[in-house]
Structures are given as C-alpha cells and as structure tokens.
Amino acid sequence: MSETRQMRHGSSIGQPVTRRDGLLKVTGQARFAADNHPAGLLHAVLAVSRIARGRVAALDLPAARAHPGVVEVMVTANRLALALHPDDKSVPFSFKLDLLQDDRVRYAGQPIAVVIAATLEAATEAAALLAPRYEAGPVEVTLDAPGGYVPESVGVGDPGEMRHGDVEAGLRAAARRIEATYETPLQFHNAMEPHGVVAAWEGDALSLDMPTQGLALTRMRLAALLGIRAEDIHIRSPFIGGGFGSKLLSGPQVLGILAARLVGRPVKLVLTRAQMYGPVTHRSPTRQTLRLGAARDGALTAIHHHVRTATSRHDDFLEPSAGVSHTLYAAPAIATTNEAVRLDTGTPGFMRAPGEASGSIALESAIDEMAHACGMDPLEFRLRNYAEVEPVSGKPFSSKALRECYAEGAARFGWAGRPLAPRQMRDEDGLLVGWGVGTATFPAIMFQAEARAVLRRDGTGLVESGTHDMGQGAWTAFAQIGADSLGLDLDRLEFRAGHSDLPNAGIAGGSGHTATAGGAIHAAGAQAIARLTEIAVADPRSPLFGAGNVGVVARGGRLLRRDDESRGEAYADILARAGLDSVEGRGSAAADPAAAERYAMHAHGAVFAEVKVDPELGQIRATRLVGAFAAGRIINPRLVRSQYYGGMIWGLSFALHERAAMDPRTGRVMNADLAEYHVPVNADVPSVEAILVEEQDPHVNALGIKGVGEIGITGTAGAIANAIWHATGTRIRRFPVAIEELGR
C-alpha cells in the first residue's frame, strides 16, 4: 500500500497516527465553544429578517422586554458604538457585517435584533414576540435577474477575464465542437457546529470561546471594530465543528460580543440551523457555458469557459468557477470570462473548494461530452489532452503525478473494458449501471504563519502555534511535524494550538494550513535544534564537540554525529551541563514568490464513479467511488484519507443532493433545515476508496506539502454526472440532478 511508501523510519511524519483528540471527541469531552458556561452566563438569541429587501418599520420591544427572564433587547438604538464601520473590509478575507447599524434589510435572515435572557427558551420566545413590521421592496434572488456586469476580478483577486491564444480561431479549426450550459445551485454552509460565541468582558479585556478558522485575523478585526487592543482579546478555539470557509468572523458572533458588553455579563449566542441560511456566507448559484473544440484525433483546439454568477447587492464575492480551465487540459487557446449579477441575498463567500467545486462539475461534464463526440474513451481523451505544462501560463508544474492517479485509480476501479456507448450495462436486478471519470485539481496555496518550539531540560519538547483543528486532524498532523522538527518521539512533545495568544498560524483555509503552519513549525524546531547544536559542538565535554563541520542529526531526543551515529548525546544532558532550562526556536513560513514565479503548483487527482439508476423511477445511487490523489508529501495518511473521503462525499452531495430552495418571491430559503436540505446519508455512500499516490515536490515548500482539504470535491461531482450519462444516455446539465430529469 502507498501508506508504507510514505513512511520513514524514526519519523512521525508519514505515520497513520490516530487523532490525538479522538478519545475526547468520541467520549464527548472535547469542549466546543458552546459547551462553555461561565458563571453568570446569559443567553442571546437573534431575531432575523423575514424579508429580503427593505427596512424594519417596527419591533414590539415592550412585548419582548416584558417576557419573563428577558434582561435586554439589543437593537440599533442601544447597540454600542463601534470604532470601525461594519462595512469596512480592511482586514484580509473579510466581508461586510450586519451589526444592527441601521434599519435596512439587505437579505432574508439578516439579524435585526438580539434578545438577551436568563434562559435560551426565554430569549427565543421573546425574539418571536418582537413581531417585526417591515416595509418590503421587490427582490431579485436568482440568476435570471435582469442585467449584470462584467467583474474586474472574481474569487480573491483572480482576473475576471483571461485569454490565451485565439479561441474563436481554435473553434473554427475544430473538427468537433460542443457548446453546453451547466447550472449549479445555491448552497449553504451546514457544518455540524453552528456559528456561535461565548463572550465575557473583564473591563476592556475580552475573553471568547468561539470557533474560528483564523484566530489572528478574527482578533485583528474584532480589535478594530471594538476599538480595543488586540492583545486584550483572548480567543479560545480548540475544536471547530467544521468550518469549510464559513468560520472567519461572522456578524452574529460580533453581536454576541456586543450583547455581553451591553448587559455586563457573559453571553452565549449560537445560531440555530435555520439561521445559518443568511449571515454566514454561502455558495452562489452559477450558470456556466463551455465551448470546446477538438481536432479529429481528440486534441482540444479551444476551451471557452464562461460563468454567470451572483453576489449580494452590497458586497462582493464571485465564485471563481472558470479557474479550473486554466490548469487542467492542454489547449492552444483558452479563454475564461465572467459576468455577475447583484441579488438580495447575504454575501456569498468561501465554501469548500470555492470555484473549483462548481467549475469542475461543468468542465468535467463538458470534457466528457467532447470525448463522446470524438468517439473516445473519456479517460483516454483526458490523457490525450494531458497538460504537461500549465496551459495558460506555460509554466512547468512543480510536480504532477496525475498520470499515475489516472492509472492507479483506473486499475483499482476496474475501468478497463468500459463500453463506450451509454446505457449498455445492467446489474443482476436490472438497474442501469454507468461509469464515469473526473479529474480533480486544487492549487497549492500558502499563507503566513509563525511558530515557537522549545526543547526542555527534562528531554521533552513544546511546540506552540495558533493553529485550527476543524475536525481535519490538525492537532495530530502538526504535532507529528513538530515532533520530527525537534527530533522527538511524538509522546515527548507537548503541542499547544487553538488559542489567539499563541504565535499567529494564519488561517485554516485554501487547503494551505498544513503547508503553512507546518512549515513554520518545521522551521521553529530546526532553529531550536540549531541552538542546541551550537551549545553541544562548542562544549569540550560533549561527545559532539567539534562536530560542527560534519553536522549532527536530531533523533529520538538525542543529537548524533552525522558521520558516526554511535556518538551522540541526549538533549537533556546538553542542557543540564550548560545550566539551561530550555532552548527556543522560532520559525515562520510563507509562500515563496520566486517558486511561484517559476512553477505552477497544484494537487491533482482522478475520481472514478459507478452509479446505478432505476430505469423506470429515475432514482440514483452512487454505488462505488474510487479516488486517486497526488498532493505532495503526506503527513498522516489516515487523516488525509479522511479528508479525501469527506471531499468525495461532498462531491457526491454536489452532484445529487445539495440545493437551497430559495423562494424567488421572497428571498427566503424554504428548506433551511437538515431534513429538507439534503446531504448524503450513509446509505448514499456504500463504497468510497481513496488512494494516496506518491508525489515528491521539491519546489512547493520546505516540507513538500500541497494540501488535501478541498480537492476531493473536484473531479467527484463530474465523475458522478458522467456516470449518470453513461448509465442512462441522458446528459443532465443542471445540478443537483432532480429525480424528474431521469424518471420521465
């Protein structure tokens, strides 16, 4: 198995260590933000708007205030002044917030008041008693809204338009052309843990239990909003019950903090599931048109990927769906273009693989359509158009084991012998069977991070970095990197994370957390070891005396001469003799602009799907998923495999299930609960396999890590769509696939 290949003797990195927090979690002892109940705690509940545009004309404050147990109702009039306008976005990755600044309503689900009471029940009922009256305006909430504009940029600063070569000429020259439009739905964040905060003020100091994917950024923005010093804000975020891009600072959390200030007592505010459908960002719907041309031999001559998507009327985030077309398939001419429309919704934002997920299902479907038009096997077609260098930039890839992914995935899945034509396979019960493939891709992104590493006189080590465990296993993976960086066994290392007082670990996003914070930890450990080495090699009493030139290695709590490992000394002995309690190292990591200049850096993968479809009823089940992914160095294969599973299941959800049904007349989401906003259940994923394909990347960063958190969605959604076509002969271009599309 590939797992063993990834291991090195005497190293924690590469080992399938189980989660260090696993026992805490399965026994219910892991304390999530909302599990904290400081003395004197009050409960705050949001009242949210039921209209999507207009203003709040009246609230029945007397009724709410009179409800037994209510302490205060926070509205625009008594909300404390802020030092920074909630629309100010000077902190990176931030969105405009709705903090009761006025009576305007910009989307359904916007907070319009906060009730603070002795119990959750009292606050909830009093919030209902506010019985708001509105002046409502007409709303536009779908991509059919009139008008639109051509954006300068999409995503976070990606160009709104990109042209490489002459697409029209490429299309003219093509022997085969396809043009097709694909639609992806409005989707909302549904992490298990809803956004929340437990806030306690002590004078001007603020103590917070609150899930966040970006401790330092959250602290920075809070300091600016509240007009207090960042050092006076202490955020504990040891466990996050899923973030997926939604858990940077959200408006409701700030309201909880303001509520605590207003009443002078600790306050807990947690969103209900329904309240997740508004103020905490979402994935916008997209309508994507792909025009492809191919020569007779199947070589692509042109790709044009056009996206229509939406942002809110008041803020900007555009799902960058066309980005996948920049890197995946070789074509002499590639163009990506975007148009956008402003809607009366909350502002969209980062949702796991923003752009890549929605773009991939369209591109992979179109590629499949073209393979069929060329009479080629879809895998063979993808290999025919394999990008040896990044097509639009012409840069070489820092590494790219996609060919191996195709090969290993296809072998494991049993792709060989797949009939070319659709609707050829049935199982023993007469169900239609289809096989599809999709290519997965995600860029290797780095942010900035810092870490501190300490070797202690008792022979143990300490690593500190304010990293974020969102369930992905950061507690474990970073400890593995830390232990290796200090040459210690894992159980000799104390690892501290999840607190804003620790060194800034950047954000857990863009699948870049392990690479970035891991790099910082690696550097910090290396510096601590270097300091210890200096002491040892300069000390005539040490067996390492004078080894400075040949160098030393650190392993198992000892420094060893590189040229003769029988000569070495324990860290504890070196420190004791030097009369030191500890030595410390600090490290940081960030993207290397020079490497980015030279190389295109992406993780890749290939996903194979089998679906079964009832020929009369049209019900679909994805009976088998096999993904093979290459993402540089694997720190912990067990955790990585989990990330791939989760991503692939999300991809399945994308293709078959998830969709918010927003009423176009009102802008309200009509299925804002997990009974009706469908995500896959166990019976929907009977068999998922993830193969870890070996890939060494000397350029991407010091540890050679690319990131695995998001790539699993990409490829999978398209593979399932393609398998449905192969099973039925019907090409579905609107997602998720509705039952009536096949049961006709």
Partner: protein, 351 residues
Amino acid sequence: MNRFEYVRPRSVAEAVAAGAVPGSAYLAAGTNLLDLMKIGVARPGRLVDLNHLPGLDGIEHQADGAVRIGAQVRNADLAHDPGFRRRFPAVAEALLSGASAQLRNAATVGGNLLQRTRCAWFQDTASACNRRDPGSGCDARGGENRLHAVLGWSEHCIATHPSDFCVPLAALDAVVEVEGPTGRREIALRDFHLLPGTTPERESVLAPGELVVALRLPAEAAGFAAHARYAKLRERTSYAFAVVSAAAALRIVDGRIVAARLALGGVAAKPWRAEEAEAALAGAAPEAAAFRRAAEAALAAARPSGDNAFKIELARRIAVRALTLAAAGTPERLPALPASPFAPLSGGRHV
C-alpha cells in the same frame, strides 16, 4: 417556543379531560410537534403528555386474527415485532422506510398518523397558508411545488400527507380507535384524514380532545402476507420523505389475482386508496399489462397542482413497481434498504 402548561395524566380518562381544554395538544414522542413548536407553527397553551399513560404501548395479537396496536407503540418496536412483521410485512416495510433509526425508535403510532404536512410554506410562519392560518391564502401555489399533491387537492391547499406507515394501513383497512369527551368510537383509516376542500385546516375527522388510543388491523389483512410490499421513491437512498410511494397487497390463487389492495403515498393530503385499480386487478393474471392498467386507473383523476406533472407518471410507475414486487412474493426477510429501488430483488446481498 411559547410558554405552555405541561400535564401528565395518569389515565386515558384524565388525558381526554385535559386534552379537551381548548389550546391543548397531545404530546407523543414530539418528533413532529416539538419541531413545529420551535418554529412557531404550533403554539399550544398546554401539552398533555401521553408517554406515561398505562395501556397504550401494547401489541396484541387477538384471537380472531386481528392485531391491536396501542397508540404509544414506537414505530421501530412495531416494525420489529416478529409476529406483526410476518403477518403485515408491507406495514413493517413502510415503517422501516421512514425517517431514520433514531426517529423510528421514538416516533409513535398515534403521532405518525397525525403528523402534519411537510409543505415548506406551512412551516414558514411568514408565508400565507390556509392550513395553518385559515383564509390567509396558499403560497405553495406559485412557489416551487414540485413535490405537492396530484390527487384530491383544492385551490385552497395542495399539500400532501407525508406518512409512509399510513399507506399500507389504508390499503389494509386499518381501523383507528378513538376516545373522546363523548366516548369511544372507531374510524376506518381511509376515512380518518381529510382532503382539503375549502377547509384545509381540518386535517382529520378527530374532534377536539379526541385521543387515538389504538390502531387495529383486521384478520383479513393478514391474508395478503404472502404478496405484500411497499415501494418508495426518494431523493436520497434513505432518510427522505416519499416523492411517491405505493403499498400493494395481492391474494393470488391458481395464477389469478383474487383480491388486490393498492394505496399511494405522497400524492394527496391523505393516504390514497386506489379502489378503481383494485377492481381492475380482480381476476387478472398478475402480469405487467394488468399492473399498468391498474396504475392508469389509480391515477385517472390526477392533475398537477403546479410544477409536478412528472409525479403523476412516477406515481403510476411506483404503483406498477409495488404490484410487481408483491406479485413476486414477500421476501423471507425484509431488505436492508426497505422499500428502496436499490433493495436487491435477488435478496442475496444485504446492502
């Protein structure tokens, strides 16, 4: 959630007395009622808790062959009762195709019968809904109503009844035993739920304060045990309400159908017994052509209430499927994916 009084009666008589007070609601497992209270759709002034009442949680196999099920019997307990399952397999299959294991462990027979529609506008207090707020209108009309009713609906309401359990019950002539302020009475399940007409707020024939105490399946219903199935079309493999569903039960003698029962779910505000279809099947050979004719008859009166014309054809096909499965014979044991198109016909493999 509004403030309410909580009453824990010690006897059925006490329960009925408490339940007769206006503004009261019976609380069974609360898997539907409490959800509706949390979103403000139900605001009872008093909850009468049925969970500690003696005598409502038994499954009695009676001497005449009928079975009497207490209103507080949990859905899972009923489905897994070996005698019940053997004699009324389609009912067990329908129960096990509903909700999730956790919900089935809690949900009761009485609560399942009286669960409210899942219509999204019914659940959204900011929307107009005649069923929730008589005379306010119906925002489902003109909304995304692809899963709404195709049979028995009116201009006033196009909602469906969501229960799976009730579908085979309607097919098998189950009887609801009710106790109320004016005494005991029995109601055929087929007559228990009401079509909306001009009064969609009236969902069942229960008078205020009337309590369901038991449900009875007659001995005759067990006569279909060899050929009884439930089939359910869903938008995911499990844990989803029916898009359409059907319960079919046949008695086959010498290659001829001597008696047939068919009911549809997800198509109307009540479980839909299809007597025209049953008549069409009587005396026929259990074959595809007869099943298709029966399905045509069952849906003859169907018409779309919105974007849901597709449901009419799917309802026909699910009826054909249920009849086909029933004709093939009730399997030795229930499939691991009850009522699912993905339950293997061959029966060998598990999931």
